[in-house]
Amino acid sequence: MMEELLNILSEIRPDVDFEKADALIDGGILDSFDIISIVGEINNAFDVEINVEYLLPENFNSAKAIYELVCKLLDE
């Protein structure tokens, strides 16, 4: 699933190395438009619903953090 996630991320922002980056929000690498696209794609691909409440920096600062968020939603 992690691979799928990385594919999605790279499609939206091909210029970012998602495997290594870990300050995506705090470092200003991703902006709000990216988040929206990412969230939309993830919702679609994994059939989850990332609510507005989850739009916090700690959830999106790295690909790993995003992965953890998705897992959490899937377990509910």
Binding site: R13, S32, F33, I36, S37, D47, I50, V52, E53, L55
Partner: protein, 505 residues
């Protein structure tokens, strides 16, 4: 009853007495009756609409929560990932059915009453949106639904926010509303002071500035040409004084009960761009549209599909903006529509959109220009330039919301270049028609006071603590004079039928 009437002040005084004499546990019941009395004073007929929205929103939220609970229980019995997924999908489908009915019904009712029948029950544009926001929050699982219909009604129909908002959020208000606060004379005084300040802004500054706007829009000698420049500044100041003054009154009233209403204004004239302005002006409206229209649409399936298609055809840098821009278009169309159904309101909304989107796209270009001309982005001069530019842009757009029609708005703008009364610039006082000399002085004093207060707040100081530094006799004398300015200069008739600029919403 109008907030600006002796009747309301008497009602408030009696209510405060009863509220603080009641046992703490029952104080929310006092508010319940206050809401009922306040709303009924606007006419029994209209109460029906409020009741319908209250019941459907409360019921719908509870139903959604029950569906959530039911499927959660069922999910515990699921063993495979597919089963869990199916469970989730069915849950969402069911919830969506309920939400669709609730949303369609209430928003449809709003559109019907406001735009077709043109007979708006009091506060319908506010309580409808607050109720729908609440339902969506419960749908998203942000907080549990309110089980008690009466308590929900206390929140939804809280009388200070009935006429002009702010758009409250249930989770932020419920503690204040339902847990009574001990009596505090300090809080009472602060609330009263804030009310007085609001009355001053509304009844002195906004009222007088309104004379200028009305004179210019009335046509004839005092319109067109150089007066259009006046229209770039005065109506915005008027609207700010009017609306933020009303908010001060309403927040002051709430504070007296220990309830904190969300702020709608955060020193808007310090905004450096139109985008920032909307984070400082009518904040709760902007937040509501962001949380309940912008994000849902831009993160929704349709917009994402479109974004994906665009990513295949164009550069990713542009493609990623597509869902957001679509969302923007919807948000600004609805924002314009919320202010009025005529074309010129929509144009006003779209102008906002064009300028915001434009400045986003042009951001790199602007950066290059700044470098070329050696302008430091954080230099005081540049910041001031940005603030003034923003204010003038807002003023220009306001011509579209204030004019009686789109064609009128365009012709007013055109007259800036076609009417040659620029010689009047030698007589600045004449550029404020409808006001006598002493009134201009009073308004000027009021605006300076407002600016001082805003500067203090922008620097991060809490206004009450700043005021407490002034020695008490001087401070109280200042309050007394402020009170007298309101009753002597303010438009104190019996009941102000002129109403607020936002009262039609």
């Amino acid at each position: 009853m109008s907030i600006l009437s002796i009747r309301f002040l008497a009602f408030l005084a009696v209510l405060l007495l009863i509220y603080y004499l009641s046992p703490v546990r029952w104080r929310w019941v006092v508010l319940l009756f206050a809401n009922i009395i306040f709303y009924l004073s606007a006419g029994v007929k209209n109460a029906g609409f409020l009741a319908v929205t209250t019941v459907t929103a409360w019921g719908g939220a509870r139903l959604v929560e029950q569906i959530n609970e039911k499927y959660k229980e069922l999910r515990k019995l699921c063993s495979t990932k597919e089963e869990k997924q199916e469970n989730r999908t069915s849950c969402v489908k069911q919830k969506k059915k309920v939400m669709t009915v609730i949303l369609f019904f209430n928003l449809g009712l709003w559109i019907l009453m406001k735009y077709f029948l043109k007979a708006s029950p009091l506060g319908i544009s506010f309580y409808t949106f607050i109720a729908m926001g609440y339902c969506i929050d419960v749908y998203r699982g942000k907080y549990p639904a309110e089980k008690n219909l009466c308590r929900f009604f206390v929140f939804l129909a809280f009388f200070p926010q009935m006429l002009q908002g702010p758009f409250s959020r249930y989770d932020r208000m419920k503690d204040d509303l339902f847990t009574g606060h001990p009596f505090s004379s300090d809080r009472l005084g602060e609330g009263a002071l804030r009310m007085l300040w609001g009355f001053f802004k509304k009844m002195v500054v906004a009222e007088k500035l309104g004379c200028v706007t009305a004179s210019i829009y009335a046509g004839g000698d005092t319109s067109g040409g150089i007066y259009v420049l006046v229209l770039l500044i005065v109506p915005t100041l008027q609207l700010y004084a009017d609306f933020s003054g009303y908010m001060d009154i309403v927040c002051g009233v709430s504070r007296m009960f220990g309830i904190c209403l969300q702020e709608n204004f955060r020193q808007p004239f310090f905004a450096r761009s139109i985008e920032e302005k909307w984070r400082r002006w009518h904040i709760t409206l902007g937040d509501w549209f962001k949380d309940y229209i912008f994000y849902p649409i831009s993160m929704g399936k349709w917009a994402q599909d479109l974004g994906r298609k665009c990513r295949k055809k164009m550069k990713p840098a542009i493609a990623r903006m597509v869902p957001s821009y679509i969302s923007f278009l919807v948000v600004w169309t609805v924002t314009g529509f919320w202010h009025g159904s005529a074309l010129h309101f929509l144009i006003w909304g779209w102008l906002n959109l064009i300028i915001i989107a434009g400045s986003m796209q042009l951001a790199p270009f602007y950066a290059k220009m700044r470098e070329r001309f050696h302008i430091k982005e954080e230099s005081k001069g540049f910041i001031l330039f940005q603030m003034i530019r923003t204010m003038l842009l807002v003023g220009m757009m306001s011509i579209f919301s204030d004019a009686p029609s789109a064609s009128a708005a365009f012709s007013i703008c055109a007259s800036l270049f076609t009417k040659f009364n620029w010689g009047l610039i030698k007589y600045p006082l004449l550029l404020l028609p409808g006001l006598e000399g002493w009134e201009i002085a009073a308004v000027g004093l009021g605006l300076i006071l407002m600016l001082i207060v805003d500067i203090i707040k922008e620097k991060g100081y809490e206004i009450y603590s700043v005021l407490r530094k002034i020695p008490m006799p001087v401070r109280y004398l200042g309050y007394a004079f402020l009170f007298y300015f309101v009753i002597l200069i303010g438009n104190t008739g019996a009941d102000l039928t002129g109403g607020f600029l936002y009262a039609q919403f």
